[in-house]
Symmetry: C2
Subunit: 202 residues, 2 copies
DNA sequence: TCTTGATTTGACCATCTGGTCAAACTCACG
DNA sequence: CGTGAGTTTGACCAGATGGTCAAATCAAGA
């Protein structure tokens, strides 16, 4: 496939269909558990046709992960040092919870990768992710120094937010097995709000 | 292999070696990502020899999961209605955190299974797990009714404990990518302790 | 319309993988 | 020892899977 020319109408459509199908399949079965045939079928293409757009299974996976990393980190990016600390953090948590609800496939894609040792995104973690987290924990530390929120280990505060919010997407089956018909997010939202309000109040 | 007779010395040794090797491999690569050859090699056996002890890859996985489920739920089982609420809950959290630290392979084994929709343990979730959680949330609700701990959604309280504690085992790579040399559990322990103390104080 | 590059496909291949089997070997016990 | 049950293995198989390729089909601009 010509890489240098501007993408044609068909290229755009098929590339998008492949990535969407791949997101379905990779997030549900992990990298190894996904098959190219399955992705191709879900995208409405034959396997050789799919491999006309991406050189390999690995390439699809990589394209997905790097394409979604920004989306995934956007909520933290928006945490604003100028805003009110409690409002900023609660809004961040709110956004993360919404992402869990609205983009569960993305959450599980990353979860699959991380739980297996992140063989394909190890670098992004130690570089991009670490840099962003360092930047934002510095803000949290400032707020703590100023006595505007309770003093806590800022890294673990971030971890707790990730753990709590992504749990609902990543372990959805377990949550639903226990809650039955109840909508997980209806209870989760006030719960995490209360939790962090209590935790962060100095 | 003779199933009915009492297991010989060799059977005990090899079955144990296989299950240990399988725990390594399944927890690191998921069911589909694990190969029988890999498990056999790690157990120090040839593939046909391994299949002399377990009829199939699936059987090893099932044996592992059901054998470990009790271990995994033991900390919650120990939550005692007669004890002091705050102490009981904090002790439960402590036990869960220790399990994350000491049995990360087991945590990741379950995480792998859950994130992919728990195709092989769906029943255990809706039966055993749900029953246990229902029993223990009833205790939590009583404590809340008596005003001994803050009123919260009891299911989400449990979820939050699972999420927070298992996060350190399941997403170990991510945690370490951010913390660098710092021991995750050194910071995690006081953090979760503070968190739940603040959250549960009425 | 015609041409050329873009797109699609059927047939094919090499490798991996779960699993089988008969034959060989080893161990415990009378 | 000897013997029968328990254990191990090399050779093998069928199906799945990632990937290739030449040929056929299609789309759009000149």
């Amino acid at each position: 496939m010509p890489e240098d020319r501007a993408p044609t109408r068909i290229q755009k459509k098929n590339r998008a269909a492949i990535l969407d199908a791949a997101l379905n399949v990779f997030s549900a079965h992990g990298f190894r558990g996904a098959t190219v045939d399955q992705i191709a079928a879900e995208a409405g293409l034959s396997k050789p046709n799919l491999l006309y757009y991406f050189p390999s299974k690995e390439a699809i996976h990589t394209a997905l992960l790097s394409g979604l990393l920004d989306t995934w980190l956007a909520p933290l990016h928006d945490l604003d040092a100028q805003g009110d600390p409690m409002e900023e953090i609660l809004a961040y948590i709110q956004r993360k919870l919404e992402m869990s609800r609205d983009l569960p496939r993305e959450s599980r894609l990353f979860a699959n990768e991380l739980v297996q040792g992140a063989p394909r995104i190890h670098d992004s973690l130690s570089n991009d992710l670490k840099a962003l987290v360092d930047e934002k924990t510095a803000i949290l530390s400032d707020w703590m120094d100023q006595g505007r929120i309770a003093r806590l280990h800022p890294y673990h505060l971030i971890f707790s937010i990730w753990a709590l919010t992504q749990h609902y997407a990543d372990f959805d089956v377990q949550v639903r097995a226990i809650l039955g018909d109840e909508d997980p997010y209806e209870g989760a939202e006030p719960f995490v709000d209360t939790l962090y309000r209590k935790l962060l109040t100095p």
